[in-house]
Each structure stands twice: as C-alpha cells, then as structure tokens.
C-alpha cells in the first residue's frame, strides 16, 4: 500500500508543477497579448507598415460635347540625395560594367530635361550632408521613364498633380487656371467646390524585400476624385469666335474685344470670347488685366445697340408701333434744355420707328423713347437685367451702372445707350429675351457638375421671366431686320439665304475726368433667323484705332453668325420679312 501512496504523491506533484508552469505561461501570455499589446503593436507597426498617400485627381472641365478643356495629369519632380550621391556601377547593354560619376549622371539628366548640368551639379553639391535636393520640377512621363532608365541610385521621382489645358487659349479666359498655390482664376477658382479632390491615405505592411504583405492594406481615408464640370461652351465654335475677333482686333488695333453666342431657347452661352485670350498653360504670356473674362467684368456704355431694347419697350407699352411717324432733325434742342445730336448731320427727316432704328438716329429714338416716363423705362431696363450681375456670377463680374434717378440729359441719352453702363453679358441676356419671344431665360455658362459617383449637381436655375409680350418681341425683331436689309452696313451684315435682325452701335467712351474723348466702342448685336430666332450673336470692339465705327464689327458679326448657322445646321429662311416702311 505504501507504493500506491508514493505513486499518488508523485502524480500530484507532477500535476501541480504542470499547472504552475502553465500558469506562468498564461500570465506572460496575458501580459503580452492583452496588457502590453497596444504598445507592442505600435512599436512593430512602425517598422513594418508603410503609409502611402492615394492621390485623387482634380476634376476635368469639359465643354458641352464633353471635350476636355482642363485636365489633371501626373508630372514628376526629380530630387536627389546629395549625401548618397557618388560614383556607381552601371551594367551596360553588352554586359560590361562601367563607373558613372556624379558629373556624368547630372549631365545625362540635364540632356533629358533641357536643363544645364552646371545647375544640377550645384544643386547636388550645395549641401553634401543633406538628404534632399530638388533637381528638376515637373517632368512628363516620357522624360521620367528615360531618367529612371539611367539607373542612378541616388535620385528619386516624386509624382505631382499637374493641370493641363489641351485647348490652350480656347476658353482660357473662362476656364481660368490653377497656380502653384491652387486654383487662382476663372471657373477653376469659383467652381473649386466641384472640381477639388480629396487625397486619401492607405497603409500596408511590407516584407523585407518591399513586397506588400497579402491582406495588410488598410485604407484610412478614402480618396475622392474631383467632379466633372461641364460648360455650355462649344469648344470648336469658341475657337472660331476667338479667332475671328482676334484677327479683326489686331487689324483694328483695338484694346480688347468681346464676342458671344447665346442659344435663344435656353440661354446657354455657346461661345463667349475675349481678346486678348489667355493661354492657361502659359498665363505669363498675357497682361494681368486680361486674365479674366472682360465680357463679365468690363463695364461700358453700349451705345446704339440699346435702341433695340428701347424700341421693344415702346412696342410693348403701345407707345409706338413700327410705323409710328416722327420728323427727325439733325440736332434736337429739347424743351427741357437737353441737346441731342445724330452722328451724321442731316436736315429734317421723315422716319418711322423702324426708320429710326435703321438709320440709328439718336434724335429720333430720344423723341420716341421719351414717350415713356423715365421710371417706366428704368423698370424695363432692370427687368432686362441691367444694373445687376447675371445669374452666372462669374469671378469679378460687374453689375453695370444704372442710376435710379436720371438728369435731363440722361433721360434722353438712356434711350440710345449712353448714360448707362452695362456689361457684355447683360447685353447678351437682354437680346436673348427679345429673341425668345420676350421671355428671359437666365444666362448659363456651367451646365452641370457631375460627381465621381454620378450624382449631378449645380444644375442652372431655370426661372424665366416674361419681360415683353411675344408679339412685341416678334415686332422688335422684325424691325431690326431693316437694319440688315436697308441700313448703311447692309452689304456687310446680310447673310444670303437667311433673315438676320441686327443693330449696330458706336458708343462714345466716357473719360475718367468726365465728358467723352476720342475713343469708341463699336458693336453689332444680332438675332438669326429672324422668323424663328435661334441664336444671338454680339460682337464688340473696345477702342479700335483704325476704324471707329460699327463697320469695324460688321464683318466679324457676319463671319461668326454664318459659322453659328452652319455649325448648328439652321435651315435657311424661306419667306421674306415684313419690310416695315422706314420713311413717310
């Protein structure tokens, strides 16, 4: 029996010891796995884990057909580690091994990037203890690959986001540009909330040879690419319009020029050109005052193109009809002391309202226009959109100057477009209303913003306003046809096969000191086809040197209008216009 007891005791001791050892292990395990787990994890994680930024590209700006106007591309900054810079061995194609010195290496880089080896060598040797030196900024993919193939061990390529504008100066004034500190001008700046992207961060663990450990990738922040901004602009038409006004502006020696094409049915700007044009790829090629779109920011007295607006009020109010007769002197001294003069001297003429428009008589328009009280005309001008920025609210857009109280001279001047200051965009919008049966649709430049997930935002507002009756609008357009069929610029304005309604304007430019100088702003505003208006085109030259009358703008107007009618395949007119009598 003693033997049995002994074996039982041995067994008990063995069990106890086993438990004790297991207990020690458990304590240690708990200590490592639970108590100190977090510390150990962070400590080890830093050694294995790599945090990489996930670059999300900025959104594209595209035209109405989806053609890219602004795009994001990757460029590479080539940097060096001067501390590690030195001779290295390179295996040649034939298998031999050659030594490459630092000078040789930078010479090779310089040859590929168009820089000088001297500058690069200076950058590398400036601070030999440094671990970082910038060699070349923003090389493209082709150059990056060529540099990579050099196999220089002490240089590094850092990818950078870069903005490129494939169409160059086409719509450059509208699109704007992105500088080194982010979006700086135009729609790039004002629509940044649509275009901006959010870079993400993902972390992964890697082995000793740099290979990502399977299943270790953790995305800590999702990368969100920017949205696509679609404009109403048609790139090809925009180019044509820009080219047309640039040619003529150079010929005229004009300070600047503007031209716009509006689709009547929805107020979409199919083209809005400024001269001088900005190439967003090289903004330094243009003077700073012309960076933005002067069509929105430049205020000017529009001159006679405003007569169409006054005529539309008269017809709508029933104060005059196309055949209303008026005897027009060359100079009119009004009963209340104002003095109105026509551009060319003439004796008493017997014109109708249509004739006054055709001959662009300031006196005639003052006589007829003042049949409406100043307050009534002011209200109409406000309704047409003068005196406030368009719904586009382009960067730096001006409101124009429309005083609510007119002095005696202004009371007459405003009927023919002096004494009131407008922007080009406002004028486009007013003509859109007349062309669209009196219904004004808000001017639109940005069609939509499409987020990467497909949601469409920032759709333009569609609050329309009926300013004049459709009948009054149609009558106004018909009266304006006389300018093209019978006016002094008839041969330069008419487009064979089409009925065009247009109004010319030669406005005096107010001097900062008061009064008017020798400078003019010449314009042609037109609507086609007159029987069923589809497009509004306005061309304006600011301060031309060579030809200071609307004859300067007429050829460009015809060129652009012809191109618009051809591009959008507007069928030629089949019936002649009403041909209101102009004299009596």
């Amino acid at each position: 029996m003693t033997r049995q007891r002994a074996s039982r005791r041995r067994l008990a001791i063995a069990i106890l010891m086993t438990f004790a050892i297991v207990g020690v292990f458990v304590v240690r395990l708990v200590d490592i796995q639970i108590v100190k787990a977090a510390d150990f994890n962070t400590e080890s994680f830093d050694k294995r884990a790599i945090e990489t930024p996930v670059v999300a590209p900025r959104g594209e700006i595209v035209d109405t057909n989806g053609v890219v106007l602004a795009d994001s591309v990757t460029r590479y900054d080539i940097t060096a580690s001067p501390r590690n810079a030195g001779e290295f061995n390179r295996r040649e194609d034939d298998g031999s091994i050659s030594k490459v010195t630092v000078l040789q290496a930078v010479t090779e880089i310089a040859a590929l990037t168009g820089t000088t080896a001297n500058d690069l060598l200076l950058a590398v040797t400036a601070d030999p203890t440094s671990d970082w030196a910038m060699l070349v900024k923003g090389v493209d993919i082709e150059t990056f690959r060529a540099i990579r193939d050099l196999g220089i061990p002490w240089i590094y390529a850092q990818p950078q986001q870069h903005r490129t504008y494939p169409a160059g100066a086409v719509a450059g004034n509208l699109v704007g540009f992105v500088g080194t500190d982010g979006p700086q001008n135009g729609l790039e700046a004002t629509e940044d909330s649509c275009l901006a992207s959010v870079d993400g961060v993902s972390t992964y663990e890697r082995g000793a040879d740099g290979v990502r450990l399977p299943g270790s990738t953790v995305t800590t922040r999702e990368a969100v690419p920017g949205g696509t901004l679609q404009l109403t602009i048609d790139r090809d038409l925009q180019w044509y319009v820009q080219q047309a006004i640039a040619e003529q502006a150079v010929a005229l020696g004009a300070e600047s020029a503007m031209a716009g094409v509006v689709r009547v049915s929805d107020g979409h700007l199919m083209a809005l050109a400024d001269y001088p044009a900005v190439d967003p790829n090289n903004v330094n090629g243009t003077d700073i005052p012309f960076y933005g779109s002067r069509a929105f920011s430049y205020m000017f007295e529009p001159g006679s193109i405003m007569k169409a607006i006054t005529a539309s009020m008269l017809v709508n109010e029933g104060a005059a009809s196309p055949t209303t007769r008026v005897t027009v002197p060359g100079i009119w001294h009004t009963p209340d002391g104002a003095r109105i003069r026509d551009s060319a001297p003439h004796g008493d003429m017997r014109w109708t309202l249509t004739g006054v428009l055709e001959q662009s008589s300031n006196v005639g328009m003052s006589m007829l226009g003042t049949r409406l009280k100043a307050g009534v005309r002011y209200d109409y001008l406000r309704k047409y959109g003068f005196g406030e920025a368009t719904p586009i609210h382009f960067q730096g857009e001006a409101s124009g100057i429309l005083a609510s109280n007119w002095n005696t001279q202004q009371n007459y001047d405003t009927t023919y477009g002096q004494g009131v200051s407008v922007t080009f965009a406002q004028m486009l919008s007013a003509y859109q209303a007349i062309a669209n049966g009196g219904k004004q649709v808000p001017l639109t430049l940005v069609e939509s913003c499409t987020a990467p997930d497909g949601t469409v935002t920032s759709t333009p507002s569609t609050d329309t306003e009926q300013i004049i009756t459709p009948k009054a609008a149609a009558t106004t357009v018909a009266m304006l046809e006389s300018v093209v069929t019978g006016g002094w610029l008839s041969s330069q304005l008419s487009i064979p096969g089409y009925r065009i309604a247009a109004k010319t304007g030669t406005a005096e430019v107010a001097l900062p000191t008061g009064g008017y100088g020798n400078d003019f702003i010449v314009s042609v505003a037109g609507i086609a086809p007159a029987e069923n208006p589809e497009y509004v085109v306005i061309v304006t030259y600011v301060k031309p040197h060579i030809m200071k009358s609307s004859a300067a703008a007429a050829p460009t107007f015809r060129k652009i209008m012809t191109q618009v009618l051809k591009t959008y395949r507007v069928p030629p007119s089949t019936k002649p216009g009403p041909g209101y009598p102009t004299t009596w």
Partner: protein, 199 residues
Amino acid sequence: MSAVAAVQAPRRIGPAETPTRRHLEVALSRGQRKARPRAVYALVTVAGLFAILIAQLLLSIVVSEGAYQISSLQQEQRELARDQQAISEELQVLESPQHLAANAETLGMVSNSSTAYLRLADGAVLGSPVAAKATDGIRQGKDGGPLIPNELLDDVPMTAVAATSAETGDSAGPGAPGALASSGSVASTPQGLPSPITR
C-alpha cells in the same frame, strides 16, 4: 488493483482444489484491452498534425507567391496607366482646334465663310454658295505667333502632307465638309439638311 482482485477471485470460487498446477494467464481488464490500440491513435494524430503543418506551409507559400504576383501586376498596371495618360494627353493636344486648323492650312485648305446647302430631296441649292478666297484662311498675329495661343503645341510638329491624305474626316470639324463630300455613307433626312452623324 482490480487485476489483483481478479486473480484472487477464482480461488474462492473453485470448490475443490486440484493439485496440478495449472498454467495461469493474466486476464486483461476492459481498460487494458482498450489501452492497447492507443499507439495507432497517436500515430494518426501525429501524422495529422504534420499534414496540417505541411498544408499550412504550402498555403502560405502560395499566398506569398500571390503577393509577388499582385505586386508585379500592380507595377504593370501603373506603367500601363502612365502609357494611357501619356497617349491621351498627346491626343488631346493634337485634336485641339489650333492644331487642326494649322494643319488644314498647311494642306492648302481655307475656311469658307459662306453658307450654302444642297437639299438632297429635290436637289435645290439653299443659300448662295460663294467660293472661298485664298485669304480666308487663318491669319497669324502681327508677331507671326498664333492669335489663340496654345503652349502645348510648341513642340508638336505639323503632320506631313502625305501622311494625312489617307486619313478620314473627324467629327469635331464643325462643318464636316469632308464627310459631306464622301459618297454614299451620309445619313440624311429627305426634308432636312444632310448632317453626317459621326461620333
């Protein structure tokens, strides 16, 4: 201890004791009989463990092999994305209106600003065709530079004349006269104006 009891038991039971010494054999208890095949079980278990270990080893080899494959495919994808970007960048610049217009001019083309259409239904000519003048082409600025600049085109050479002659028209051209002139394939409506639908 149960074995001892089992050995002693027959002695008490037997009524008469025979003098002859019988050959005694240890009768195995159930427990002992069961204990015998344990060696087999142990072998199976150990073999199983080894099998699991080897399987795990193979699996992790395969997985890490996959990691290398993923890594090389990702590298390839990056390179292809670079290719794609470089090529589309080049294409976008080549199809810019400035480049197309300048190229057309090199080929001796001028833009005709008159409007005229031929209605296919009855052969009627709408509008009045006017021949373009040689001066209707794109003029340069006073300094000889382009009026509508595009810095990206600075390094892009003009396409050689011979190389372009075989190329077909592009839809981007507003008038697309090339498509109109080519026979047969023009989509048209009997009443409306012929409009090639090329996208």
